[in-house]
Structures are given as C-alpha cells and as structure tokens.
C-alpha cells in the first residue's frame, strides 16, 4: 500500500461520488431519491473544496463549504415542501406523473 494519498486520488473519489449522484438524478423516477442524489452531488463538491483548501494551504475553500451547507439545507427544505405539495396534488412521488402541461 502506498504511503501517501495523492491529491488526485481524493479528487477522483469526489468526482466518483458526483457522477453516482448525477446518474441517480437521471435514472430514478422517485422524487425523494432524486433529492437525495442532489445532496450526494453537493457533498462531492464540498469535499473537492476542502481538498483544494488543504492542498493549497488556503481557507477560502472551507469558507465556501459553509455557505454551500447552508444553501443545501435551505434547498432540501424547499424541495421537500415541493414534494409534499406534489404528493397532495398528484397522490404520487413519481416524476412521470408530472404532466399537467401535456393535458
């Protein structure tokens, strides 16, 4: 086993998580799981910020992560409010059921 974890390994791990989240957004139809996949992508970006912050000995990355965490919390609250509104209207959490404009 190598003695040192290179920065590109950590960054590749972040992009792996990001693309897993992206695939989840694209293949799932359950809107709750789509929101969870968006959280995965946000987390991957946060870890990228922290990695660069450590690699470059700067603090700007960690400051950005704070604001991203705040925005993510607000985003998931609003998103879950939308899920509840959608469920009350359509009795479903399936995105294929969102077709009011087609009717």
């Amino acid at each position: 086993m190598m003695q040192q974890v290179e920065p590109w390994v950590v960054l590749s791990f972040c992009s792996a998580i990001f693309f897993i989240g992206l695939a989840g957004v694209l293949i799932r139809r359950n809107i709750l799981v789509i929101l969870m996949s968006i959280e995965l992508m946000l987390n991957a970006v946060n870890l990228t910020f922290v990695t660069f912050s450590k690699q470059l000995s700067q603090m700007g990355g960690q400051m950005a992560v704070f604001f991203i965490i705040t925005v993510a919390a607000a985003e998931s609250a609003v998103g879950l409010g939308l899920v509840i509104a959608m469920f009350r209207t359509l009795r479903s959490v399936d995105t294929d059921q969102i077709q009011l404009l087609r009717e």
């Binding site: 693309f19 709750l32 969870m36 987390n43 690699q55 400051m63 704070f66 609003v78 479903s92 399936d94």
Partner: protein
C-alpha cells in the same frame, strides 16, 4: 497529503458503496439510511483533511437535520406505494446514463492526474493554523471578519427558505387550476 491511506480508502470505499446503494435501492427509507452512512464517511474524510469544524457541521447539519427532514417526509407520505421505478425507466436510457457517467468520470480522473494544480499556495499551512489556535478558531475569525457580508446574507436566505417552504407546503393545489 499526509493523511492515513488505510483510513482514507476505508472511508472512501464505504462512501462509494453506500452512494451506489442510495441510487439502486428500491425502498426510499433504505436509500436514506445509506445516505447517512455516506455523510458519516465524508465527515471522517473532512476530519482527516484537518477541517474539523466542517466535519462537525457535516454530522450535525447533514446527518442530523437534513436526514431527519427526509425521513419525516418519507414517513409522512407513506411512500411504500408502488412508486418504483427502476423497472420502468427505459433500459436503453439506463445504459446510456451509466456509460456517459463512466466516460465523464474517466475524463475527470485523467485530468486530475495529468494536470497538477498550479494555483498560488496560501499561508494557512498546518503549522500556521496550529500557531493561530486551531482550525475552528481560524475559520471563525475569517467568517466574522472577511466573509461577514455573505454570512449575514445567509440569514436572509434561510428566512426566505422558511417562508417559502411554509407557503408551498400549506397551499392546496388542485389539478384543475
């Protein structure tokens, strides 16, 4: 970077396995619990990268608040309806998504490996941070001096999010309107 390879690879493999479970499990509650595991492994990696305050916030905000919100909504909606879906999204679409995500991932890995970053190195080395009183102190001082305006704007954002959520979730939408 001087982080322990054993712990990094352990956390990274847990995170990748659990995030695959998040998008592949049929039950949203199982997805939510896999997501909690992903958040905890991320918190471990943050702590290894000397971002202690962010590691604590990750556990408190993500694994605590956001996941409780998700579980509340899942339970509230009684979402064990047959709302599932992996069978119904087209097989060609799934293959296409998987292949394009793999290609993009390969491009990212290649570019991270081949082009080392050339940005200027700052002065927050681990020794400097240790001398200034630790990561939490340095981050807090920066937040209340240099980044005070975004910090204050954050409170406006949260207020807007609260009001918006209540307005959206309370209103009775009808199909005909």
């Amino acid at each position: 970077m001087n982080i322990s390879p054993i712990f990094f690879y352990a956390f990274a493999s847990i995170a990748i396995a659990c995030s695959l479970l998040v998008i592949l499990k049929k039950n949203p509650v199982a997805s939510a619990f896999s997501l909690v595991m992903v958040f905890f492994s991320f918190a471990g990696i943050y702590a290894m990268l000397d971002a202690h305050l962010i590691a604590a916030l990750q556990v408190l905000v993500y694994a605590g608040a956001i996941m409780v919100l998700f579980l509340f909504v899942i339970m509230l909606l009684n979402a064990d309806l047959p709302s599932f879906d992996l069978g119904r999204s087209h097989i060609l679409q799934r293959i296409l998504v998987g292949a394009s995500c793999l290609v993009l991932f390969g491009m990212f890995v290649w570019s991270f490996k081949e082009s080392p970053t050339t940005a200027a190195v700052g002065h927050f080395t681990p020794e400097q941070i240790e001398a200034a009183g630790g990561n939490t102190r340095v981050v807090s001082e920066l937040m209340f001096s240099e980044h005070i305006l975004p910090f204050e704007l954050t409170s406006v954002l949260l207020l807007g999010a609260i009001v918006g959520t209540v307005a959206i979730a309370k209103r009775k939408l009808t199909r005909s309107s």
